[in-house]
């Protein structure tokens, strides 16, 4: 084969002219590092994830360990030890929160009760019948739930579930949605019609019916959670990507790619999808909270996490029912939940800009 380009090139290329490129992701990271808001999002998110992973081992409580007598104690509320002497065997030990301590002495007058509680709070050991009361050094940073379980541990352990579900299900929905939508949009015509009508049919089926059907077929299974959520969430993604691909595929650079004789999958993955990555990322960050809340709905239906295990969605749901009496049960998981979503949105925004080469390099 005659090398046409070579024959008309006079001077050889100097080595220093052949610039080594940086990869797209390296480039993106370089740009992301300059975006302080996105970095804040990234670091905060990583901190939350790390807290969820590590801290439950060091709180001193497990997420399932109940302390019925403690009830719903407020964050950092003083806690007292009640030792009940028994005729046989070990004395029974239980914990009581400051707000519930007065209720132990209901037979006494109100002023007496106050005095006793004050005395115990000052460190005195108080004997009342078979019960001995004394101050305890135990503290619950986030308080406890109505069953006396440590809320901090529950929030962090629940965070593991929420983050896992949020990311796995979003990943599933992004993968299916992008592939489905891009293929339909790029192929066009009858293939497009058939693929999108199929998505419409799935969309029209009530979500709960699908879930119950899945439960009947496969039984309760944690993996099923991802499948069920992924199977619903990809529909929106597919539609968004399809619309974008359709508007892109008539651009001249796609015609140029076809003219080069590139195979369809290469045009799809190298030319079309990279140009819709901004929308994909933004929609994915919006999908994560959806998925986390959907998981709470599923858990309520009995498909998701089962008690005593919990998740942010479930904790917020439970917390909202007792918000008049114990607001911390709602606030603590909600802070984690919203903080995570904030961070993801900042990060998503930053990633979209970082992956766009038009954003300035310096």
């Amino acid at each position: 084969m005659a090398t046409g380009t070579a024959s008309i090139e006079p001077a050889p290329i100097r080595a220093d002219e052949l610039v080594q490129g940086t990869s797209l992701w390296k480039d993106a990271w370089f740009r992301l590092r300059k975006n302080h808001v996105a970095l804040f999002g990234l670091y905060t998110f990583c901190t939350i994830a790390l807290l969820c992973l590590v801290v439950p081992f060091f709180t001193g409580y497990t997420y399932e360990q109940t302390e019925i007598s403690l009830k719903a104690s407020a964050p950092m509320e003083p806690i007292f030890l009640r030792t009940e002497a028994r005729k046989a065997g070990e004395p029974k030990k239980s914990f009581i929160a400051l707000s519930n301590l007065e209720d132990e002495f209901l037979e006494k007058s109100q002023s007496d009760r106050k005095a006793i509680v004050a005395k115990i709070a000052e460190g005195e050991v108080y004997q009342e019948g078979r019960n001995t009361y004394q101050r305890s050094s135990q503290r619950h940073v986030f308080g406890t739930d109505p069953l006396g379980r440590d809320l901090l541990t529950r929030v962090l352990v629940g965070g593991r579930i929420s983050l896992a579900v949020g990311f796995a299900a979003t990943l599933v929905s992004v993968c299916i949605g992008v592939l489905w939508g891009a293929t339909a949009g790029f192929a066009g015509g009858k293939i497009d019609t058939v693929m999108m009508r199929f998505a419409d049919i799935l969309y029209a089926l009530p979500f709960t019916v699908i879930v119950i059907l899945l439960m009947v077929m496969f039984g309760r299974n944690f993996i099923l959670l991802f499948v069920a959520i992924g199977a619903v969430e990809w529909l929106n993604m597919a539609r968004i990507v399809r619309g974008q691909i359709i508007s892109l595929k008539n651009q001249e650079f796609i015609e140029a790619a076809i003219s080069l004789g590139l195979p369809s999958h290469r045009i799809l993955f190298r030319h079309l999808i990279p140009n819709v990555i901004g929308s994909i990322i933004i929609y994915a960050t919006l999908t994560v909270p959806n998925v986390m809340l959907l998981e709470a709905v599923l858990s309520f239906l009995g498909l998701g996490v089962q008690p005593p295990l919990s998740s942010w969605g479930v904790l917020i749901d439970e917390g909202s029912r007792t918000m008049e009496t114990s607001i911390w049960l709602l606030v603590c998981p909600a802070i984690f939940f919203s903080l995570t979503l904030f961070c993801l949105n900042f990060l998503g925004d930053g990633l979209r800009d970082a992956l766009d080469p038009k954003a300035s390099k310096d």
């Binding site: 046409g4 052949l18 610039v19 001249e252 080469p357």
Partner: protein, 326 residues
Amino acid sequence: MSMFLELENLKAHFPIYRGAIFRRQIGSVKAVDGINLQLRKGEILGLVGESGCGKSTLARTIMQLIPTTEGAVILEGRNLSEISRRAVRTERVNFQMIFQDPYASLNPRMTVYDALAEAIQTRQQFDKKLLLEKVGRLMRTVGLPANQMRRYPHEFSGGQRQRIAVARALAPQPKLIIADEPVSALDVSIQSQILNLIAKLSQEMHLTMIFISHDISVVKYISDRIAVMYLGRLVELGPATEVVEKPLHPYTKALVSAIPIPDPQVERRRQRIILQGDPPSPTSPPAGCAFHPRCPYAIAACKAQRPELEQKERHRFAAWIRIGEI
């Protein structure tokens, strides 16, 4: 000897539908309506015509980007309209296109290196080092510094982008180049640079080229022969200088008279033919000669029959019935 590229009665029609449920075809846009053309190897054919006459559709039909309604595109004896899509795909390295808008024809997410490397590797895979060198050379060839290969298209000016587009079209070492108004989106000062580049490269690489433009003066500069298109059909075909200096068809005459002359005295004295009205709709072209509603020389016979492209002189063809009369 058979021709390098032959277009045989090439047609590209686009059906128009009406109704959502009972869709029926109510007509068709005849963008390209029966083009016959032969190109020798190494020849540069200029294709001129006003906006909407089907130039770009013809280009895309030859490039197999638009399905052929009828007729054939025969490249080196192989009928591209008949072979399978897969076979067309492997054949594509032999014919490449330079697009009109350099802002739309380059993928904004690919560096120059990525775009050119992809185009180079359509014929053959190379290892990284060799590829880097080939991309560097290619950039030099089109007059861009090789050390800018890691930049993205948006970092270049319009003229530089068009150079990248030219480089990409040349990268698979094609035999045929179709340049679809490659300079019309550019600044006038840049136009001549790109034009010179295309002219130089096509000569050095022995390319056969169809150069499309709405500006006959641009086409005259670069081409061996000129074909004039009106409403999906050719109305005149002949050697470039002859067509411009002594046009046969009244439409060509009008086009030629629109070329500005850089001498104000001559410019003021000369007569310009201003065509009345707009080109008719390609959905329902007028009966007979499609040009007759705007033609200053139209007679009754023009409405009756459609003139075919016929040889009028040596190497010269025109579709006009009154040649010799006026």
